[in-house]
C-alpha cells in the first residue's frame, strides 16, 4: 500500500513541477525556480536562465543541462510515472536507445520508444507482492526449519545421550563378562593342572589307573604279561610297529609280569606322559583322555561360553561408540545459530551445467562428473567462510582432487540472496569453484573453460521452498 501512496505523491509532484525543466527530480526543483539567471548548483558560475537545458554545457558540474546530453558528467532524471524513477547518465539522452520506461530520455531522437512504465510497474508490483509472499512463506518455512532444526538437534542430542547411556550399560556388562570369562578360564586351568598333577582326588586317579590296567590286562588275570604289553602298547610316533621283546621287557621293569600297584608307579606314568608309548587304538593322547574327564569338560564349556558372550558385548560396545562418535562429529558441525542448516545434512543436490553434472552434498562433498563418466572430487566439507558479519553466507569445500600444477581443488558455495528472490525461493546457493589447475587427460576439463573464470551458476537448493532438485537423500543422521 505504501508503494501506491508514494506513486501518488510523485504524480502530484510531477504535475506541479515547472514544465520547462526537463530531467530533474522534485527534490532539485528548488534550484531551477524560473528567474533571470541560474546559479550552477556547485556555485561556480551564474548564467542566464535561458541557458538552462539549451543543449550547451555551461556549468562544470553539468547542473545547467539536466535534460540534455550536453554535459559530460550530467545526469538525467527519469520520472517513470507508474514505475520507479531513476537517474541515467546524460550521455544516454537522445542516443537512440530507450532507457527511461516513460521514453522521456528520447525526446529528440529517431528512436521510437513506448511508455512501458505502467506495465513495468504492474509487473513489479506483482513481483514485489510475489516476493513478499515468498518472503513470508520463506520466513515461515525458515521458522519451521529452525523449529525442526531445534527438534532435530534435540532429538539427536537425546539420541546421543541414549547411546551414551547404552554405552555405559554395555561397559558395565563388559566388565562383568570379562570377570566371568576370567573366572571360567581360571577354573579350567585349575582343573587341568589338578588332573595333570594327580595330587587331588585319588579315587578318581585310581580308577583311572585301574581302568588302564584293566585295558592292558586282556586275560583279566590281575597282572600284565609281556604279550599283553606287546599286543596293546605302541610307540607314539609309530603306531603300526609291534614292540620288540626287549622294549616290552623294559616297559615291564625287566620282569614278565606287572601287578596293579607296580603298574601305578611305573608303566602308568610312562603311558600317561604320552611322549614315548601309548595304548594302541586310543584316539587321543593322555590329555585327550583327560578331557573326557567330566570336570574338565564342564570347565572348558564354561570358558567358551563366557568368551563368546564377551565378544558379543564388546562388539555391541564398539558399534555404539562408533555411532556416538559419528553423531558427535555431525553435531560438532556448525549448523547455524538456530540449527537452521541442519536439515541440509545428508541431502545431495545435483546441478547440470552443459556436459557436467555437479553434485553437492552439504557438509559432506562436492564433485563433478562428466558425461563420459569420470568423477572428480571438487572438495570435502571445510567450514563456513562468509565474512564476519555473515558467516553463514558461504561454505568452503577443500582438499578436492589435486591439481596437476600442485594444490588441490576447492569449491565455495555461496548463498545468493538476489537469486533467491529472483527465483522465488528463499534460499539459493551458487557454487563458485576455484580450480587453480586442470587437464587431467587429453580432453578439455571444464575448469579450463570456466572454472578459472570464476563462473557462477546458481544451484537452487530446495531449502525453504518445496520445489527443487533434491536427489538421493541417504539420511545418515539417525
Amino acid at each position: 500500500m505504501r508503494f501506491h501512496i508514494i506513486t501518488a505523491a510523485f504524480l502530484w509532484a510531477a504535475f506541479v513541477e515547472s514544465r520547462k525543466i526537463r530531467g530533474i527530480s522534485s527534490s532539485y526543483k528548488r534550484f531551477y525556480r524560473e528567474r533571470k539567471s541560474f546559479l550552477c548548483i556547485d556555485g561556480s558560475k551564474i548564467i542566464p536562465f535561458e541557458q538552462v537545458n539549451d543543449d550547451y554545457c555551461d556549468c562544470a558540474d553539468g547542473s545547467d543541462e539536466p535534460g540534455t546530453s550536453a554535459c559530460p558528467r550530467g545526469r538525467f532524471y527519469c520520472t517513470n510515472l507508474g514505475f520507479r524513477p531513476h537517474y541515467i547518465p546524460s550521455s544516454r539522452v537522445n542516443d537512440g536507445i530507450c532507457d527511461c520506461c516513460d521514453a522521456s530520455d528520447e525526446y529528440n531522437s529517431h528512436a521510437r520508444c513506448q511508455n512501458t512504465c505502467w506495465n513495468l510497474g504492474q509487473k513489479e508490483r506483482a513481483y514485489v507482492e510475489g516476493q513478499m509472499k515468498t518472503l513470508d512463506e520463506g520466513l515461515r518455512l525458515k521458522q519451521q526449519l529452525i523449529e525442526e532444526g531445534v527438534l532435530l538437534w534435540r532429538e539427536k542430542q537425546a539420541q546421543l545421550r541414549e547411546l551414551q547411556r547404552a554405552a555405559e550399560d554395555l561397559q558395565i556388562k563388559l566388565e562383568e563378562h570379562r570377570k566371568r570369562k576370567h573366572e571360567a578360564d581360571r577354573l579350567k586351568e585349575q582343573t587341568l593342572k589338578a588332573l595333570k598333577a594327580g595330587d587331588r582326588g585319588f579315587r578318581h586317579q585310581n580308577s583311572t589307573v585301574s581302568h588302564l590296567f584293566q585295558l592292558l590286562d586282556s586275560n583279566k588275570d590281575g597282572s600284565i604279561s609281556l604279550d599283553e604289553v606287546k599286543a596293546k602298547v605302541v610307540l607314539v610316533h609309530d603306531e603300526t610297529r609291534v614292540l620288540s621283546e626287549d622294549e616290552a621287557l623294559t616297559l615291564l621293569g625287566g620282569g614278565h609280569q606287572m601287578d596293579l600297584s607296580k603298574f601305578q608307579n611305573t608303566l602308568w606314568d610312562v603311558l600317561t606322559r604320552g611322549d614315548g608309548y601309548k595304548i594302541k587304538d586310543a584316539h587321543s593322547a593322555p590329555g585327550g583322555l583327560m578331557s573326557e574327564d567330566p570336570h574338565l569338560k564342564a570347565a572348558d564349556r564354561a570358558a567358551e561360553w563366557e568368551a563368546a558372550d564377551l565378544k558379543k558385548v564388546e562388539e555391541a560396545y564398539e558399534t555404539v561408540n562408533m555411532e556416538i562418535s559419528d553423531l558427535q562429529k555431525k553435531l560438532e558441525i556448525d549448523y547455524g545459530t538456530d540449527w537452521e542448516y541442519l536439515f541440509l545434512n545428508g541431502q545431495c543436490y545435483k546441478l547440470k551445467v552443459y556436459e557436467y553434472m555437479y553434485t553437492l552434498c552439504p557438509f559432506n562433498t562436492v564433485s563433478q562428473k562428466s558425461t563420459a563418466g569420470t568423477e572428480v572430487s571438487l572438495g570435502l566439507w571445510g567450514m563456513w567462510a562468509g565474512p564476519a558479519k555473515n558467516r553463514y553466507s558461504q561454505m568452503v569445500y577443500e582438499n578436492g582432487e589435486p591439481c596437476w600444477q600442485g594444490g588441490s581443488r576447492t569449491t565455495s558455495v555461496s548463498k545468493d540472496q538476489h537469486a533467491a528472490l529472483a527465483s522465488g525461493r528463499t534460499q539459493t546457493w551458487s557454487t563458485q569453484s576455484n580450480f587453480m589447475c586442470c587437464v587431467t587427460s587429453a580432453n578439455v576439463n571444464p575448469c579450463d573453460i570456466w572454472g578459472r573464470a570464476s563462473f557462477t551458476r546458481s544451484l537452487v537448493l530446495p531449502a525453504y521452498s518445496l520445489t527443487g532438485t533434491q536427489i538421493g537423500s541417504d539420511k545418515t543422521i539417525k
Binding site: 546530453s69 544516454r92 537512440g96 570456466w450 578459472r452
Partner: protein, 952 residues
Amino acid sequence: MCCWFFLRRMGPVLLLWVAVCLSGSWAVDKGNFKTCDQSAFCKRQRAMKPGESPYRALLETMELTNTRLTLQLINDNNKVRLLLELYRLQGNITRVKINELKPLKPRYEVPDVLIREPPTEPLSLLSQDENGVVLSLGAESQRVIVSARPFRLDIVEGRDVLMSLNSRGLLGFEHLRMRKDTFSYKVTSTVASVWDNIKRVFSSQADPEAENKEGTDPANPAETAKEEEEKVEDGMWEETFKTHTDSKPSGPSAVSLDFSLPGVEHVYGIPEHGDSLKLKTTDSGDPYRLYNLDVFQYELYNPMALYGSVPVMLSHNARRTMGIFWLNAAETWVDISSNTAGKTVFGKMLDYVQGSSETPQTDVRWISESGIIDVFLMLGPTPRDVFSQYASLTGTQAFPPLASLGYHQCRWNYNDQEDVRSVDAGFDEHDIPYDFIWLDIEHTDGKRYFTWDPHKFASPKEMLQGLQDKKRKMVAIVDPHIKVDTNYKIHNEIRSRGFYVKNKDGGDYEGWCWPGSAGYPDFTRPDMRAWWASQFAYDQYEGTMENLYTWNDMNEPSVFNGPEVTMHKDAMHESWEHRDVHNLYGLYVHRATAEGLIERSGGVERPFVLTRAFFAGSQRYGAVWTGDNAAEWDHLKISIPMCLSLGLVGISFCGADVGGFFKSPSTELLVRWYQTGAYQPFFRAHAHLDTPRREPWLFGPENTALIREVIRQRYTFLPYWYQLFYLAYQTGEPVMRPLWVEYPQDPATFALDDEFLLGRDLLVHPVTEEGARGVTAYLPGKHEVWFDIHTFQKHNGGQNLYIPVTMSSIPVFQRGGSIIPRKLRVRRSSTCMEHDPYTLYVALDNRRTAEGELYIDDGHTFNYEKKELMHRKFSFANGVLSSVDLEPNAQFTTKSWVERIIILGASKPSMVTLKTADGENQLEFDFDASMSVLTIRKPGMNAGADWTVTLQ
C-alpha cells in the same frame, strides 16, 4: 592465442613440451624455429662472398621496347642464363624482374598482390658501349646504368647514385635442375639433349646467341667440367629440421640480390619483427627473417620471423626517402650491413674533421627460397611519394567501419551468453563506451568454425540482438583450419570439392590444430575463396546477423605438429608447393573472409576482419594485430615500433593486445597500456584463458576511472581517427607515423620510436616505463608550436621537453597550425554518437593560422564510393575561421552541428561574428587569458554548412 593451451590438451604425447612450458621460462623456445644456418638455402646463399659475381650481362641480347628493357644475364660458372626485365612504372618506380631464361618448369610469380598490372612509362636509351648501357628513366633526371661485367645496375640522379643492384656481386639464382643421382635424371637429360638438337635443327633463327653458346659448350671441356663439378650440398634435395623432412622435389631454387644505398644510415620496414623501428645491422647474427609463423611467446629485439611478412623496406636520409619492394612469397631473409654502424659519434666526427669520411652506406641483401626476383624500386623522393608509390602497386588501407575505430573488448574467452550479457552490462554500469565484444575459439561447437556451442551459445541471434539494441557489435573467430569430422558440413563440402591443400603424395593435407586433426582449405584457389566467402551469408552461417564481424587467427597457417608450427613446404596448392606461396596464405584467408562479409550484405556494408598473418596487400582487407604478446613493459614499448613499421608499409589498421595476451599485467601496466592503446589505430584489450579477468572495472574505482577517462578520450577523437583512415584509404599515408615522415630533414627524429604522430597533427608520447615520474618527449619542428591537449599549455618545437607525469597522464600534443574536430559527448558506443555535435580545436601556429579537415559519411557502407560523403576544410587566418566544401559534388547531410570552437593560442577578441547563408549573428565567448584559450559558445551551425566565424 597460441599453442599454450593446445599443449595442455595434447596430453601425454606432448608431455615433454608441457614440461618445458611449465619450467617457468616465458621465452620463446628458439630451438623450434630455424636460424639461417638451419635453413639450407639461407646458409648456401649467405656463404657467397661479395665481389665475385659470376653474372655477366649479354648486352647483345638487349631488347628495348617503349615499355620495357630485356636483357640476358649469364652465370659464367654454370652457363645458365637469366632474363632481366626492367620497367619504368608511373610514379617514379622502377621494376626489375629476373627469371631463368629457360626454367625447367615455370617458377612461381606472386599473383593477387598487385592491384593491377602497373602502368609503365617509356624508357629511352641514352648511350651504349661494350661495358654497359645508360637508360633514361622518364622525366626525372634519373638514369639507369647497366654494367655488363660483372652485371650491376645503378640508379643515378644527377651525380648521385641512389641505389645499386648487385654492386656487391651477391646476385644468386639457383636454376631448376634434375637430380643427378637419379635414374630419371639420366633418362630425361638424354632425351632433353636429343630434343634440343632437334629444336636447333628446326628453328635456326631462334636465339642465335644461345645456340652459339650451346654449340660451343661441348668444345669447351673446362666449362663442362666446371658444371659437372658443381657440388651437391646437403639440403639441396632434402632437408630435415627436428623431426620433419622436407622432400624438396624441385631441388635448390633460391634467389638473392644485394642493394646498396649510398648516403643511407636508416632503413625501416620489413615487418613483422619484435624489434626497433630503425632496423639493425645483421652482420653479427641472423638476418631478419620473413616467414609467417605462429611463434609461442615471442621474444623482443631480435630478427626472428613472426606472424606476418611485408617484404618492403624503406630507406631514409635527410634528402631522400626510397623503398624496395621484394615481391616474393617464399621464406625470405634480409641482411643489412652498414659502413657506419660500428662507428661512434666521435668516430664520425673525426672522419668529418679529417675529411676522410667515406659516404655512409647501407647494404641490403634479400634471399628467398624460391620464385623469381621481382623487385620494385620506389624512388621517392619524399616519404609521401613512397607511400603513394607503394599504394599504386598494392592498394591502400581498407576504409573501416567507423565503429571499428572504437574500443574492442576481447578475452579468450567470454564463456557464454550470460557472460557476454554481464560484461556488456558492466560497461554500462561503469559508463565506459565500447563498440565490439569478441568471442574466441571456445564459442564454437568443438572448434568447428561457423558453428556455435549449443549449450553456451544456444541463441546467438538473441545475444546479437541484445548488443544491437545498444548499438554495439560482436566479432567471432573463424580460423582456417577445419576439423576433420564427417559430421561437420564445412569439412564435408571442402573435402568433396577437393578444396583442401594436398600433401606431397596427393592426399588431403592434415595437421593438428585446435580441433585436433584438421584440414587446411587451399585459399590460393579463387574457387575455394568464392565458396568460403559464400559461407558467411546469413542463411549459411547460422545465428549471425549484421552486427557480427569476423576474426581470422592461426592463418600463418599454424599447424601444431608441422615444421616450425606451420605447414610442410612440400604440401601442394594445386601445382605449386607450399614453399612458393607460404607468406601469401594468410592474406588469402583474410581476403576471402572480408569478401564474404561484403557479399552477405549484397556489397553494401564495409567488412571488418582482423587477421594475424599478413603479406604485402593485406591492408586492403582490414586490420592486423601484433599477435600473442605478453603483459610486460617491454611488450608495451614494442607495440609502438611494431605498428609504426606496419604503417610504413601500408598497413595502418594495427594494434597490440592491450594488457598483454600472456601473463597478467600489474594494474599500473594495464592502465598505461590502455593509455597507449587508446592512441593506436586498433584498440582492443585481449587476454589469455589462463589469466584472471581484467575488464576495466576490476581494479578498484581509481583505476576504473583512469581507464574510463582514456577510453573516453579515444571516443572524443573518433572524427579525427576517421578522417585519418579516409586519408590512408585515399593516399596510403599511414595513420600512425614515425616523426621522420613529417620532419624528414630532422635527423633527431630518425630513430625515435617511443613516440609517434597520428596524422600530422597529434603527437603522442605514451608512458611506457614502470613507476615513471616523467617522460622526455621530442617536439619536432623548429618553427612549430605544440599544445598539450589536456592543459592547453603551449610548447615550442625543436626541443626535448620533460613532462612530469602521474597515473592519469598520457602526454599528447596538438600541432599549432591544425584544426581537429572532436565529439565531446561520449556515449555507449560510436554509433550512439552519430548525430552529436562537434567541438573544433583550433591550435594556432606562430603565424596565427591553422588548417584542418572534417570527413563524414554514414560510417558503415560503401556509399562513400558513390560520393555520399561530406569532406570539409577548415582554415583560420587573419582572425577568420572558415569552413569550405572540399567535395562539392558529394552528397551527404548530417544532423551534427558545431557546438563549440576552442582556439588555442588566441588573443582576446572584442566581438565574434558568425556568418552563414542565413545571415550574421554574434556569438558569446569566453577567454582564458592565462592560457590564451578562446572558447566560442554554441555557434550552432550545421557541420555541413559553409560559414565563417570572424574574431574582431
